[in-house]
Symmetry: none
């Protein structure tokens, strides 16, 4: 998985791997990321500590993998944003949904945990961008590119920048709890961002 190095993967016990990842996710929800310990994960998973240290280089890597497993599409299909042809409505729907997800207590703890790891561990951050952020970002860019081609955005619009201006304020507000994540905020954000890049 993701951040793990690989000493003869063939003998690895799938049973243990899954138990560890599940225990990790459960414990983050129960005691929070700050109080998560390798020892507790091992105990909960019914696994020796060494089995964790054998396959993951750090607590952060275990946490990361446990959340990665969550976000992976079992059907192998990619992520796709809705496309009704109306970029304004589509983006508002997506941002409202994202805001709602941030408020879901089942997601909040793990995602904060993940961010804590990523902020302080550049290596993990790279894996995160590659495995978790990129698929989502590419879906966003695909949708925006479609809008640009349909003439709803300026022909020379910097779509990367547009994506940043749409999502960063939302994420920031959630991370620092600096304001409410309601529909009005999502809508205003979309309106302003599209205004900046309209044809």
């Amino acid at each position: 998985m993701a951040a793990s190095t690989t000493p003869d993967r063939s003998r690895r016990s799938e049973r243990s791997r899954v138990a560890i990842l599940t225990a990790t996710r459960d414990l983050i929800g129960e005691v929070g990321y700050a109080k998560l310990t390798i020892e507790a994960i091992a105990a909960r998973a019914g696994v020796g500590k060494q089995t964790i240290y054998r396959w993951w280089p750090s607590k952060g890597a275990v946490v990361f993998d446990s959340l990665l497993a969550l976000s992976e599409r079992p059907d192998g299909g990619g992520i796709e944003l809705p496309d009704t042809g109306d970029i304004d409505a589509d983006l508002k729907a997506v941002l409202r949904a994202t805001a709602a997800e941030f408020s879901d207590p089942g997601f909040e703890a793990p995602i904060r945990a993940l961010n804590t790891e990523i902020i302080n561990d550049p290596e993990l951050a790279a894996v995160y961008r590659e495995k978790m952020e990129r698929p989502i970002r590419e879906a966003k860019l695909r949708r925006l590119r479609g809008a640009r081609e349909a003439g709803q955005l300026a022909a020379d619009a910097d779509l990367d920048l547009l994506a940043d201006m749409l999502y960063a304020p939302l994420t920031q507000r959630w991370l620092l709890r600096s304001g409410p994540l309601d529909d009005d905020f999502a809508d205003a954000l979309v309106d302003a961002a599209l205004r900046a890049f309209r044809p």
Copy 2:
């Protein structure tokens, strides 16, 4: 200060308080936030551990106060953004400076440490917003209000939103290391944001 609760402040030793804050700041720079320990702070400050536990509720609170002391203006004066009359040039200068500050290795470690704390501790986050973010944000809003009054921004521009769209992408990119923090990025950001709110 700030995050400390207050059991009869009058008897408190100013000497110890300053030594603790200084030691904390030094140690974050030397060993990083993750390896910062209360014991090391106490030893470096020449202080009993109890003196730290007496006045701060958590390691995060100490770290916070130590950084707060850094950001406080000793002259009591407020923070002010440059105002040449040209909002576009002024904002580009400020965002370029902010980007440069993020890249300064002397600032990077402490600010990442601070963010780690804030993400996971709502109480600390509230104090942070009040003591550290608010003065800066108000300075930004003052400058933007000036521009709006000068007719450089739409009369109905939502300045709060504008501020978010200017700064959040910068902060986000730095926090997650998702791209370079160069002048081009700062300039593009200002251009796009102003485009969204021009008269």
Copy 3:
């Protein structure tokens, strides 16, 4: 008192002295000697810690004084053993009473505490012998001398040794809990000891 050195006794607060001694005795009974702390004594006595440190050199000295106060005769009179003329009966009565006192839970804890101090602190041991043991020992010797003069003991009987042989086995058995402290034991002890020193 006793083990205390004497910095200008005249100014000393009798009120505090008594409160400290009382608190000490109470606490030994409540939490045991091992868990007795100066801080607890000061708090219970409503006294600053300094007031204790000013007048006593060690915790042992406070404990000692607190118990000394217990054993002192307020009327100033000396201790006297019963004298019915029958040395055998008198000694048996005294040893039975001593054994009973050792079994009294109200006495047991403090006396064990006292012994613990004395065993490890020669200075305290000297004060103990002088202030607490001597009066009792002299009473014993007086009674034995009477018996010797009455011809109930050998004329050349070593009364010090006799006293030791009477009391040491009792004390020892109590201290190490090596056997029951019943009347039979007391009686057998007296019988044997008197046998060794009869005329």
Copy 4:
């Protein structure tokens, strides 16, 4: 050993056990029992504190085991008192030797430490009696029984009581430092005790 409880002894490191016991004995000699700390023992033994807490319930238990190790006969043979056929001379020799041992500075500190523990900890006292005192006491009783069978003591002599009357005064005097432990005292003790139990 002795005072230790037993969580799966099989995995226990003999190396650490011995190092801890040795360090304890050394430190009692160097800094005294009162200033003996678990932390110092661990450091001296090159051992984690947890390894001590894992196998011993209290500081007293460690001290106890460390002294028990001292007193154990590696050859597995029992202790035997000298038997020249002359009970008077034999006892005097043994009591003189005991007195000398009490005066040996190398023994004094540990044995006082041991007594301090035993006085205040009934559980430890029981183990002490079983493991350390009983073998010695039985050797004494064997020798006395021999003397009784040889007609040197009364046929109905209470040998337990005799043993107490021989040793308790000696131990008492040493513990409380209430008098010199010289040969004269030993001899007088034997003379008086035997007088009480002669045929």
